[in-house]
Symmetry: D2
Subunit: 366 residues, 4 copies
């Protein structure tokens, strides 16, 4: 299939542009009988929504989702679930001056080289706005995973530019606009962002994720390994430049006698594997870490060219997130949910009734 469908059995097909009439998606392959209404999806969209703090883009989008199909009398029917979100605050004129130039670090240049045309309206298809579709679709996956496996996926911001954010407790994540698991550090993050915004610049971030409990056995080696599909999904999020599973790049300097997680009758003694061995979940929590680059649309002047190749200088005045990482936590959670859901179905397609019946292994992550 073409590049706008994610998943083999739980399939999300995405459509829409940042400044077109609507964005949306089709979820095909959802098991029937799941209780579902817009109220199950809207909270996830609200977590991702722009305009909710001064640290993110001030675009105002209610992001109200409508379910157009696949649900009857409050339950999924097993047929495709179409999700529609109208665009409302689409001020294309903000972008008029960008029509012929390319923003350094922005996808607009690559899109032009690929498709031969420019849709300058807020990034068109490459806009992070499209992640709303992913988040909406993943809310369905999350509900099914919770009901069938008690599986929960949670993320947090672990670093904002130079500021590392120590994990203190899950209870903090929902209480600040950064998804920081740490209340003490929030004023410092706010001050940093205020200064950054004033300077007209942007910065990167790190997001961490944990899914638990994940049943052992998910993943389809040798190519569609669980970690490989997670990496695909994560690197497919706008602005992500790096993905780690478990110990990640820290593995380079580890010895085998440190890295390999020892087993006991009570479970593993560590989780350097990040819950995946040989591309298959082990029953431990699945842990993932992402690097997001700084937003490319900044107010500072930068050298660039226009479509004729003539040198120019670009400043982006539109409404943008000075740190896309701030809103990335719900998006990363969503992508992980979609991968796990797809593998839950792939695993039971081939392996129903095989394998030892053992419970997932309680984890200590993060």
């Amino acid at each position: 299939m073409s590049g706008n469908t994610l998943g083999r059995l739980f399939c999300v097909t995405s459509f829409g542009e940042s400044h077109g009439p609507a964005i949306g998606g089709v979820v095909d392959g959802c098991p029937p009988g799941l209780e579902l209404s817009e109220a199950d999806i809207q909270p996830a969209l609200d977590r991702r929504r722009p305009g909710t703090s001064r640290h993110v883009t001030q675009r105002q989008e209610p992001d109200q989702v409508r379910i157009l199909s696949g649900v009857f009398e409050g339950r999924t029917t097993g047929t495709p679930i179409a999700l529609l979100i109208d665009n409302q605050d689409a001020r294309s004129k903000d972008y008029a001056n960008l029509l012929d130039t390319f923003r350094p670090g922005h996808a607009d240049y690559a899109y032009w080289r690929k498709y031969g045309a420019r849709d300058p309206r807020g990034g068109g298809r490459s806009s992070a706005r499209l992640t709303a579709v992913t988040v909406a679709a993943a809310a369905i996956a999350c509900k099914w995973l919770a009901e069938h496996h008690q599986l929960r996926i949670r993320g947090w911001m672990a670093q904002l530019g130079p500021i590392e954010i120590p994990f203190e407790g899950w209870e903090h994540v929902a209480t600040n606009p950064f998804f920081a698991p740490n209340a003490t550090i929030v004023p410092r993050l706010e001050q940093y962002m205020d200064e950054l915004r004033r300077s007209g610049d942007s910065v990167g971030a790190r997001i961490n994720l944990v899914a638990e409990p994940v049943p052992a056995g998910w993943g389809e080696p040798v190519f569609d390994r669980l970690d490989a599909d997670i990496a695909h999904a994560m690197m497919g999020i706008n602005a992500v430049k790096g993905v780690e599973i478990g110990a990640g790049f820290g593995s380079i300097t580890q010895l085998g006698s440190q890295h390999g997680d020892e087993l006991t009758p009570d479970g593993f003694l560590s989780n350097h594997a990040g819950g995946v061995l040989g591309g298959i979940s082990t029953g431990q929590p699945v842990t993932v870490s992402l690097a997001l680059k700084p937003t490319s649309s900044i107010r500072l002047p930068r050298r660039s060219i226009d479509r004729t190749g003539t040198p120019t200088v670009v400043r982006t005045e539109g409404r943008h997130d000075p740190c896309v990482g701030i809103r990335a936590t719900p998006i990363a959670e969503a992508m992980l949910a979609l991968v796990l859901m797809d593998h839950a179905l792939r695993h039971r397609a081939q392996n129903t009734g095989v394998g030892p019946a053992l419970p997932p292994i309680p984890g200590t992550a993060p």
Copy 2:
């Protein structure tokens, strides 16, 4: 399709176990008319082959590949190319003592949980031996990419455990068993490995890759982005725990005014993007970096359990690489080649004749 096929249009289907009679693969979708014989593939296999230095496993496998189909009178016909490599030095008895226990950090536990059975013979399907199939298939892709796009993919070891390896020149890579781009550091690497081997332990590594020139426009957002598919392929290599494109995790602390690569009429001024923006190649060199964990099969004793859940201690006496990273360079190059080949075909399927006709951009990587 199931999990042992990679690619949508240039498809590699892999089969075989480490200690079965043979391993192999089927390449479907190769353009017809490409000159091809075993002599085009064998050198790539020889680079990956075990037993060629004291620093890698001493298993002796000639890894002679045979083409069973898809080539007629020295040229590809457009039909599936079957590749077969016999296993020869398969001493399964080495593994007899592992039948009922699990190696910490090894895939054997996860395989058992998924499939309900154990194939203890050298890791069965999860063995790094299977990467020979990928390397053989990728040799075909490399030849086509070179002929049609002058595209070349090259990798090197950038770090061995604690030892960082500064890039000095491509000419060094082929002159040492580590694929180190640096002649001076080789004695230090050899000494480190000798000590490691004596200690019975193992260690991780970092591999870097550059592909150039890559035409602008490859990649299929929003999900099958070029970087996403690269991440999928890389994280699918045995022992890989982290993947970076361009600046990777370094992006976290970069400002937008540093990260975004400025454009001039003569090309980009930097390559923090790693040649990919919005999931589409820009024409710059594509740069990738990988973290490999230490081998799980080590001689040092480790706590584990057996199939009944009883505590035990495991030592692995078979022939193993104390640093899988040492042989990983050709494998990583191969995976990158397969992804690029697939996207070359995907791009021309949809976009033949569109987009501005501009040449790739000369890069300065690494």
Copy 3:
């Protein structure tokens, strides 16, 4: 991927139920640069629309299509094209009495067995109404095929129940509600349908299709042959029970010396192959014939059971086509267009620049 996406490169994902708020689809993989607006799609929908003669269902649906994405300034951008059609005349109450019973010959029984629930509103997902999505998507394919290959797909009704309809000329097809290529026979068809409608019964039909000129070389054996994919698409149309390519079932009694189409420098001397040999188009017109069963929803009483297994008698009073074949011609044309479009892209992905440059062969079909 799941079952509601058709095509590998030109992909149509369908959603919606007959009596939900809307139906629609997403077309992914369309080449960029194609001029496109709703005005290119609406005429195709209007040909398929119900309520346009007394011989078809009297449901009134304007079937106004909206393009939600993938088109900018009047041209396709290469990103997904979302198509939305609101349902308007959805009188679900007509179906209230069907909630617990199954119509003989209708999909409602099978859907209940598969998904465990009943959506009695006009057949839900199994309704022929969903073919509107296919027709809309195919209008895009038709436009591209016409522009790039001058390819045209045309169908006609060849038999209505017992009445065979001799082909007299294309000019007649658009002048009667049956898509009959024969003006003389129309009164007889009308009389037959009037009597059938009064009797409360339904009847089957045969539809024929011709696509020409089809370039030689399309089709991906050994499994995704062009004829195989056509058969898949055709048998996937509601009510179709048989598919023929070329001589079809007539081949059984032919001798090889009759069937094999002889070649001359001026082209083939006959077209028993229906334009496909070995699963690949030969350059001749592609000819297809379909058998459609009689509508299952009829007013005559029939024995059935309800969900508890209790015997009952079913009569269907809703608005239905007494011969689904009457409206099937545009639908069958649409499915053929989607298959040809997908294979046009698949062929050029692998085989750009190979094969002898010869024009398609002028055909004499039908």
Copy 4:
């Protein structure tokens, strides 16, 4: 994926040419734990084998299959099962005179137009010899379907050229080289074939299939309907030009009151649907009928052209089946098995635990 893989979850990837060193395939997605050895596959190959009567090609191929992977200690492991069959009696010289000409009705012309080259050795990839791979792969599917669903697939020749073959009993099918379910008619078939062979001509045939019991609920509408996927598989068999499900083309003249199968608490009263409604199995036997064209390779002279377009006359002297339909029964059974196996897995991926638990419905087919 490319065109040589069949199935989404139970995937068969085929490779090889008629006169290359070997043919084979890879089965990916087979559930683990199935007892399997070559002895489970060989009988199916022996039924399809050439050279077993004077009515079929005299090519002598032992068709010994070897399992190269995916089986350990007599059971499938869940990893890919590679199947290899060596070619032995490949007399390519028989075809030397065909190098530059095209046989009317043969795939060689279309292959040349697609791939730009000719592999004249017995049809290369388009040879019916490749169906051996399908038959071998399907033997695995048949074993699983029998063990898990008691499902059995059986076919027979229903017509040989002009001679219709009334069904008398299953016990006759294995007792004659035609797979005729009728002992009395065999001498007439033999006489017809002897005369045909002497005349140097060939003829078509009809094959019928029944699968039973098929659980209700298999099939993935709206596009991957069970009947659509069956049609795809059947039309993908060499020489097939028509496919019917249930009443097939007979549906055209049926009234709805005749065609729709009435339900009673004891099951359906007829099976015009062929066991499929709305693209989903109903629990009735699945019935399929195929039309095969006469072999294109005949001794009678026929007008054709060569690669330069010059007129010529072609006679085919190689060893060929004068009626490919004679050996088609095991091939058609195999293709049906592969489709049903794939849908068994697809259904349980999405719908495990949903739907009413009712047994399949006893059928009266044929």
